[in-house]
Amino acid sequence: MEVAVLTIGVLLPLVLQDYLTIYATRVLILCLFALSFDLVWGYAGIMSFGQAVFFGSAGYGVALIARDLGVTSMLLVLPAGLLIGFTFALLLGGFLLLGRHQSSVIFVSLGTLTGSYAADRVARGWYYLGGQNGIPSIPSMSLGSYDLDEGPVFYYFALAILLLVYLLCRFLVGSQFGLALAGLRENEQRIKFFGYRVQRLKAIIFSFAGAIAGLAGSLFAFHEGFVWPNMLGVVMSTQVVLYVLFGGAGTLIGAVIGTVVIEALSFWLSNSYQDIWPIILGVLLLLVILFRPAGLISLIVSERERVGNFGRPPKERPHGPA
């Protein structure tokens, strides 16, 4: 499945017209964003309705670095985006997750939602950040003297980053740390009696996911050429929830498929049914969530595969554990 998706991803620019390649690049970056939400919700069971805070703050951060400092080198702006996403997630996660008492799901979801709403309002009202209009005309990201403009090169660059992050997440969720996350998701109350410091575990994965969202946000800012308050707000935060629910939370490939299908449907429906496309898309999303709560991926992946194996008894693996 993963190889098939990757093959399609590699071949796509060869058959797409340029304007569609640009659209596909945007989708790849959103896939990266969806992976970050999937890690916190699908794997660790933390309901974050504010993932856009880290996406948008990194976008704004690199836009300011480019505008005010004239720095556009990808060797500086992408790590900066990562760091901004990580720092904001650490601050918000520290506040919401590291209290003396365990945070409830409602507290974390409303806290992150409020954070997203507040960030949107701050960006709209702050003149330095461009207010309602955001920051336009961000120069291209560069590597030495080469400017990375939108098009096939940017597409393959985004695909390479997505692949790297995907493999990193795959390594993470398949490790013993991934088993601890599965325990966190399945029964948080139980695992603290084994000795797991669950709040710390949550803060770690939340911050790591924030860094991925930050990387996505900084790529998005340079690809689109401008940043605007919606990137931080509730709409963007909800959109990423839908990507992951639609594709299948708790599977990395599900997050990618969900993003691609929703974005492709939106593109096609908005061209074909200009007036009613949001209604059609909304009904489709509802149908999937009602009849396939485990997402589209559950059509091809069993529940057992979705949960995963972290260790295998010798019967199944004669040469011992992985």
Binding site: Q176, F177, A182, N187, R190, F193, F194, R304, F310, P314
Partner: protein, 244 residues
């Protein structure tokens, strides 16, 4: 010095006093039973010891250290392990992963990230499953087990990290007579390795495996001593006859 000392433990929920100055002392390698009528405070006392509830008053010391306010994870890291009254295995995970999850809890973060202890812990996971007669189901999800087997899995998970003190809250609840007998057999060998505090309604079961008993009634200790002492205690007989 006793391994576990609970002194003057009181727990109040609103207007209900669930524990009223309860005392408990458990020595190294001792099997200690908590008995008493329904609502006498046995499970609340277990929860206050394990950290699931924080006592309103009183102290708990474990290995000479005051853990009255310590969160459950710190108590577990100090060597205390709990099996809940209601089975709480992780149903979607395989039996193997359930035990591995319990075993790796105190592994450092870098080791977890790079799965450094997976190979080392493999033999211990398999030994635990073997000991509790679950090895044939190692690759099955825990949800596929019978109720009795889930209870055994949970005891295996609680015992896997080699705790100094194992707290078992009604380990034979919902088991058949045969399963209870087997559970007794499974628990006997652990006496060499750790102490045990057990809450159980089956008095025959608890009499067979425990060295000492504490009887609770209305949140207070009614009597404490050897099994023979408790069996002949007029106070205990009166409480049980009163409830009969």
């Amino acid at each position: 010095m006793a391994l576990l000392e609970a002194r003057g433990l009181t727990k109040i929920f609103g207007k209900l006093t669930a524990l009223n100055g309860a005392e408990l002392s458990v020595e190294q390698n001792e099997f200690h039973g908590l008995i008493g009528p329904n609502g006498s405070g046995k499970s609340t006392l277990m929860k206050c010891i394990a950290g699931a509830e924080v006592a309103t008053a009183g102290t708990v010391t474990f290995g000479g250290r005051d853990i009255t306010q310590a969160p459950p994870a710190e108590r577990a890291r100090a060597g205390m392990s709990l099996k809940f009254q209601i089975t709480s295995v992780l149903p979607a995970l395989t039996l193997y992963d359930n035990v591995l999850l319990a075993l790796q809890a105190q592994t450092s973060l870098p080791s977890l990230l790079f799965s450094r202890t997976r190979g080392v812990l493999h033999d211990r996971v398999m030994a635990m499953l073997e000991q509790f007669r679950l090895v044939d189901h190692a690759a099955s999800p825990a949800a596929a087990l019978s109720h009795g087997q889930q209870q055994w899995l949970e005891i295996a998970m609680a015992l896997a990290p080699e705790p100094k003190l194992l707290l078992l809250d009604e380990p034979t609840g919902g088991m058949s007579l045969e399963e209870r007998r087997v559970t007794g057999e499974l628990l006997q060998p652990i006496k060499k390795r750790c102490s045990l505090v057990i809450v159980e309604h089956d008095l025959d079961f608890i009499r067979d495996i425990c060295d000492r008993l504490t009887v609770l009634d209305q949140g207070s200790v009614l009597d404490c001593g050897s099994v023979r002492h408790i069996q002949s205690s007029p106070k205990v007989q009166e409480v049980y006859l009163r409830r009969a």
